[in-house]
Symmetry: C2
Subunit: 278 residues, 2 copies
C-alpha cells in the first residue's frame, strides 16, 4: 500500500483518511464538494484532494470507496478505466450481496474488489463528525468471494490491523447479510417503529434507561438506511416477520393469561441474553 | 415519621431500609426469611427485624410494602388489624390500578394507602443486590386517588426528598399505568421477543452497541414481570398491538419498496427521539 485513495469524505471516509494519514500513509481524497476537500486538506487528513477523480486516481494502489451504497456501482462504472493497473478496490458498505456481485460482474479484468465492513457507523453526516477513534472498538469484517485472491484478502485484514480495530473476522456474503439483517437492521426497524407507535412527547420526563437505550438508534440517517434496507430487502423482511411472529406469540400468551409460558419465554430470553454480556 | 416498617427485604425493600436508616430514621424490617433479617441487622440497615409481623408492626407510623405485587392485598388483609392507629401504608409496585383499588376497598377505616413508584428496579433479586444509590437517578412518582388525604400525599412526596430521588411527579392511576405500559412494559416485551426470535448464540462476537443496548432488559425476573404484565394486561395488550401495527406498516412499506414513506418514518422517529436526548 503506497498510496491510498478515499472516495467520499463523509463521516466514514474522512475517519478512514484521518486514521491512515496519522499512521503515516499517503492518502488522497476524492470528493464532489470543494468545501469538504478544503476542510480535509486544512485538517491534514489527506495529502492531496480533487473533485475530478481522473487526475489523481491513477496514482492510487488502494481505493477505499466510502460512498452511499447505491453510488458504488455507478462510480466504478464511470472511473474504473482511470484506475492504476492491478489496483485494489474496497467497499465499506453495510450490506454486501447486492453490492459485491454487480460490481464483480462489470469489473475490469486486472482490478479486484475486496469487501470490508467496519461496524462503527455514526448517525451524523459529514466530515465535521469524522472521528478516527471510531475504529478502536469496532468489529471489522472481511467478506471475500471466490473472485478474490489470497493477497487481496490478506490486505483487507492487514488494513483492519492498521486501523486498530478491536476484532477482525471473515464471513461469506450470505453470513454477513443475514447477521446484519438480524443484529443491526432489525434492531433499527424495532427502534424506529417503537418511536412511531404513537405520539409520546408528553412522556419525556418519565423515561428510564430501558426506553432510552432501546430507542437510541431511532435517530437515523434516512437516506443511508433506506438504501441499506432496500439492498437487503429479502433477508430483512424475513427477520422482521420472524420477530413479529415472536412478539405476536408473546401478546397471545399474555391475552390468554398463560403465566407459565410467559415465564418460560422470560427464562429463555434471560439465558440467551447472558451470553451477550461483556 | 417516627418509626418506619419495611415489609419484605428484597432488593427494593432493603434499598429503602438502607437509605432511610442512613438518613437517621428508625427502620424495622419484616421478612419471612430469618437469614435475610440476620443480614439486614448485621449490615445495620434495620434497627430491629422479625419474621412475625404482629410483634413490631404496632410501633410503625409508616409502613412501606415492598412485596411482590400479588402479595400486597393478602398481606394487608392478614395484618391490617395489627397496625398502629392511623398508620400510613405505601406500596411501591410497578403497576397501580389493580393494586390500589382492591386494597382501598378493604382497608381499615383509620388506615390510609398512598401509592408511590420509584422507577429504579433491578433485575437481580435479594438483599445482597440492594443498593441505596439506586434512588439517586430515579424518577419517583406519587399516584394519589380521591381516597387520599393531602397529608398523606405530602408525606409521600417528602419521602421522595428523603430518599434523594432525581425527580418527583404526580400521576393519576390511569396516567401511571398507561405511561408504564408504553415506556417500560412494552420495551421489555420487545427486548424479550427479539431475543426469542430465533437462536442467536453464534452472533455474540459480532454484536455492536445497537443490539446490546436494545436487549439489555431481556434479562428479566420472570416471577415479578409475569405478575406486573398480568396486572396491567389490558393496557399492555393495547400498547403491544399498536406497536405491532407500527412495525407491520414498516414491513409492508419495505416490501413495497416505498422509499419515500420509509424516509418519512425515519424522519418522524428521529424528530421524536431527539426530545429524549439527555
Amino acid at each position: 500500500m503506497k498510496t491510498i485513495g478515499v472516495i467520499g469524505l463523509g463521516v466514514m471516509g474522512a475517519s478512514f483518511a484521518s486514521r491512515l494519514s496519522h499512521k503515516g500513509y499517503t492518502v488522497y481524497g476524492f470528493e464532489r464538494s470543494q468545501e469538504t476537500l478544503d476542510i480535509a486538506l486544512q485538517k491534514q487528513i489527506i495529502q492531496k484532494g480533487t473533485t475530478e477523480p481522473k487526475t489523481l486516481l491513477k496514482e492510487c494502489d488502494l481505493i477505499i470507496i466510502a460512498l452511499y451504497p447505491t453510488q458504488i456501482l455507478p462510480w466504478i462504472r464511470q472511473y474504473q478505466q482511470t484506475c492504476k493497473d492491478k489496483a485494489i478496490l474496497m467497499d465499506i458498505s453495510g450490506v454486501k450481496s447486492n453490492i459485491i456481485k454487480p460490481v464483480q460482474a462489470i469489473l475490469r479484468e486486472d482490478l479486484e474488489l475486496i469487501s470490508i465492513h467496519p461496524m462503527c457507523g455514526r448517525e451524523s453526516r459529514g466530515i465535521q463528525f469524522s472521528d478516527e477513534t471510531i475504529f478502536d472498538q469496532a468489529n471489522y469484517i472481511v467478506v471475500p468471494t471466490d473472485q478474490n485472491t489470497p493477497e487481496a484478502i490478506e490486505l483487507a485484514k492487514q488494513l483492519g490491523v492498521i486501523l486498530g480495530v478491536k476484532n477482525i473476522s471473515t464471513l461469506s456474503i450470505e453470513e454477513h447479510d443475514r447477521m446484519i439483517g438480524f443484529l443491526s437492521q432489525l434492531t433499527h426497524v424495532i427502534a424506529v417503529s417503537l418511536m412511531n407507535t404513537h405520539e409520546n412527547a408528553h412522556l419525556v420526563e418519565y423515561t428510564g434507561d430501558s426506553f432510552h437505550d432501546l430507542t437510541r438508534i431511532a435517530e437515523i440517517n434516512e437516506d443511508l438506511w433506506s438504501e441499506l434496507f432496500l439492498l437487503n430487502k429479502e433477508i430483512l423482511l424475513d427477520e422482521t416477520d420472524q420477530f413479529i411472529a415472536s412478539i405476536q406469540h408473546f401478546r397471545d400468551v399474555l391475552d390468554q393469561e398463560d403465566a407459565e409460558e410467559m415465564k418460560r419465554l422470560f427464562i429463555q430470553s434471560t439465558k440467551r441474553r447472558k451470553l451477550f454480556n461483556r
